[in-house]
């Protein structure tokens, strides 16, 4: 194109040459962007200086002058933990609620999606009412509704807790469950190692089964055998080593339960709301994925003599998953971003304790907001990387 115009046409003046124009345009854009960012930056610096705020990362080493209540894996010690610890705890708690949410939303979403496709009119209608209700109401409203109007209002105080066999308790403070505690360190390690070995065994088994199938066409029930291995072998090791892992039950003390595994009510409500909300979207995705599998595929599979279960497992699900997984991963990312709404119900995740409490107590708006954004950007970029990798893999498989 460009060559055409330069060779055939009478000499184009330089300012009409698309190449030159593009260069000028880009230079202008660069100028504007750099200028705007520069202005914003220098304004911010000046403004902060005028206000006597010394921006920097020094405060990260200072001791946090407030308490953090929920931190299952990183220990928070009032008077010893620093702002940096608070930041890490924030990330940890974001990951916890997102992980729990993703698991629950996926399970519920699959159920809803399959119900939606059920030939049973009533079941399918219930699923569609569920989907339309949950996804058309703001998530924040749902979180507040479940937390304040339902759980807090209706759950009893610690002394009248609802209990399940005196081991699991639910009250207005949260959910309390037994916690595994190691009684013999060595034994626990043996069980863990055996578990890992069993996992490796399953992978080997899967590979072997796949090869055999490719070669001979005979299939092997990998899933059920693996499941059996994964459950039976570690259990066996557990008892042979003499039950090295005991259980700590939550115990009612003066104010509330102590010990055991605790899930604060804020986490519980947030988890509940995030899962039920995201499940509506995943349900739609699942439905779309299954419907996207051409009916001819099912018929062809039946014609080959596969029975119903095999048709589903070998033909429909693998193809449907290909359609389902990319949007489902985006939903997982959405759920993670939405977990920032915790700020409304006092669950201590990144936005709530870092962009909230820490920002307030230090006044370091610039650094704190930037750090928060970086965390979410990393999560989001990782997710897109995974997505792109998955799409790339799928493209290769396609024939």
């Amino acid at each position: 194109m460009k060559q055409d115009s330069t060779t055939n046409a009478p000499a184009t003046p330089w300012h009409r040459d698309p190449g030159v124009r593009a260069l000028i345009f880009q230079a202008m854009l660069l100028l504007v962007v750099v200028w705007s960012l520069g202005t914003i930056f220098s304004n911010t610096v000046t403004n902060l200086e005028n206000r006597g705020i010394h921006t920097g990362f020094d405060f990260l080493h200072e001791i946090a002058p407030f308490a953090v209540g929920f931190s299952p894996f990183i220990e928070f010690k009032l008077g010893e933990s620093t702002y940096w610890d608070v930041f890490l705890i924030g990330i940890q708690n974001t990951i916890i609620v997102s992980f729990l949410g993703i698991v629950a939303a996926t399970l519920l979403g699959f159920v809803i999606g399959i119900m939606r496709l059920s030939p049973n009119w009533l079941v399918s209608k219930i699923a569609s009412v569920y989907i339309e209700t949950f996804r058309n109401i703001p998530l924040l409203l749902q979180i507040l509704f479940w937390n304040f109007a339902i759980f807090l209002t209706n759950l009893p105080g610690p002394r009248q807790s609802l209990s399940l066999g005196e081991t699991v308790f639910l009250n207005s403070r949260g959910l309390y469950m037994p916690r595994p505690v190691t009684e013999s360190e060595a034994g626990a390690w043996i069980v863990i190692i055996v578990g890992i070995a069993a996992l490796i065994g399953c992978v080997v088994l899967y590979r072997w089964a796949k090869r055999r199938k490719d070669q001979t066409g005979q299939s092997f029930p990998v899933l059920s055998v693996s499941l059996a291995i994964m459950i039976l072998v570690p259990t066996l090791a557990f008892f042979i080593t003499g039950s090295p892992v005991g259980v700590e039950l939550p115990e009612l003390k003066r104010f509330n339960f102590e010990g055991g595994m605790q899930m604060p009510l804020a986490l519980f409500s947030l988890w509940f709301a995030l899962s039920t909300y995201t499940a509506a979207f995943i349900g739609e995705t699942v439905r779309g994925g299954i419907m996207a599998v051409d009916h001819g595929q099912t018929e062809a599979a039946s014609a080959l003599g596969l029975h119903r279960g095999q048709v589903l497992r070998l033909v429909v699900v693998p193809q449907a998953l290909r359609v389902i997984i990319p949007p489902a991963i985006s939903q997982f990312l959405n759920l993670t971003k939405n977990s920032s709404l915790a700020v409304a119900v006092a669950y201590e995740e990144l936005v709530s304790i870092w962009s909230g409490i820490a920002l307030n107590q230090t006044g370091q708006a610039l650094v704190i907001i930037a750090m928060t954004i970086v965390v979410y950007e990393i999560l989001s970029l990782t997710t897109s990387a995974i997505l792109n990798f998955y799409n790339y893999r799928i493209q290769l498989v396609e024939r």
Partner: protein, 369 residues
């Protein structure tokens, strides 16, 4: 003459496969599993539905002006509360206090509804011009009415705006202001100039990777720092800026989808006609691309409409926060279920309505190339 064989008229299908019974057999009781599922669903519904209906309608309190009515009958919903606070929940603090001024937001809304209704009419001429007029002029009309200063009406400052009205304002200003930005970004992302593309991609991915709540925090706490002292925005304005920047990334993605859907031939034909980039884009590509991206934009509008509720976290009294504040007032404390459900219902009606419309659009706009 041979006798023709006369077939007997068809028998009607057996009663069990037509009508209500047939439908039920086919859809509810076709197999043992189905029978079980149907019965289970019926059982669950029979527990939930009557309770809800009793609470929300049969036992509910509708009359009265204070909580004594509701306190006397705690088994039913307290719609009295919603009724008393309705103006506040719909129009915010200022119009909640000045009931005589409520005609202003209502007029603004009616004008909008009329214009949108006109736009929805099929085969209206000059639709594009009308649409552009609505986008460009209507915001000023609405502002004049709602704020009041330009028309010499009693002034309702933006810090006094609230309720459903504020939710509408934030969502619609957000989507309209994000449109031009989104178009530029989408074009930039498909540009052949590496710098332009890099800038657009960075911008889009940056905003899409951040939760809106962080953006709003940034807008409310940091925006004032970005400008020289003396430049001030009020709270609503700051929220609008945050929402617009955020939304423009999503709009850009919706439009990019539209741009991608346009067959190469269109570009090539435009090139062959000797059109330059801007002419090609404005007269050939964008009209087609925008049309295809309308459902995508509408869907992102639904998301935005729901997401505006997040401004309650930075202290704006939108529909959600207004309802919540009302339910925490001394007069009505304890009736928060009603407040949440009422707000949820309003949100639901709009979002569901718009999503149905978007599905309809998707069908009618679907024209194979």
């Amino acid at each position: 003459m041979t006798e023709h064989h006369q077939p007997l008229p068809d028998l009607p299908p057996p009663i069990t496969s037509t009508g209500v019974i047939g439908w039920m057999r086919q859809h509810l009781f076709s197999s043992p599993l189905n029978i079980f599922l149907t019965l289970l669903s019926l059982y669950v519904l029979s527990i939930i539905v009557p309770n809800i209906i009793n609470w929300a309608f049969i036992d509910a309190n509708w009359t009265g002006t204070d909580r004594t009515v509701c306190d006397a009958n705690p088994n039913g919903a307290c719609w009295t509360f919603i009724n008393v606070r309705l103006n506040q929940i719909l129009f915010g603090l200022y119009y909640g206090q000045h009931a005589d001024q409520i005609w202003r937001p209502i007029t603004a809304f009616i004008i909008l509804a009329g214009l949108v209704g006109l736009l929805l009419l099929p085969r209206l001429r000059f639709k594009a011009w009308l649409g552009a007029g609505v986008l460009l002029l209507y915001p000023f009309v609405a502002f004049a009415l709602i704020h009041g200063e330009w028309l010499g009406l009693p002034v309702a400052n933006s810090s006094q705006w609230g309720g459903l009205m504020l939710t509408f304002i934030l969502a619609s200003v957000g989507i309209v202001a994000a449109l031009p930005l989104g178009i530029l970004l989408a074009l930039g992302r498909r540009s052949e100039m590496p710098l332009v593309r890099a800038f657009s991609v960075t911008y889009i991915e940056f905003w899409r990777g951040t939760p809106l709540i962080t953006v709003l925090f940034m807008a409310s706490v940091m925006l004032p720092l970005f400008f020289p002292s003396g430049v001030e925005f009020d709270k609503v304005m700051r929220a609008v800026i945050g929402i617009t920047l955020f939304q423009s990334a999503y709009t850009a993605e919706a439009i990019r989808g539209g741009l991608q859907a346009i067959p190469r031939g269109q570009y090539e034909a435009a090139d062959a006609l000797g059109l330059g980039y801007w002419k090609k884009t404005i007269f050939i590509i964008l009209p087609q691309a925008l049309k295809i991206s309308i459902p995508g934009i509408v869907n992102s509008f639904i998301e935005l409409f729901k997401d505006t509720s997040l401004v309650s976290i930075i202290g704006l009294l939108d529909l959600l926060n207004m309802a919540q504040t009302a339910s925490r007032s001394i007069e009505w404390k304890g009736y928060d279920v009603e407040a949440y459900i009422f707000a949820a219902m309003l949100f639901w009606i709009f979002c569901y309505g718009i999503s149905r419309y978007s599905q309809h659009l998707e069908k009618t706009l679907h024209r194979g190339h």
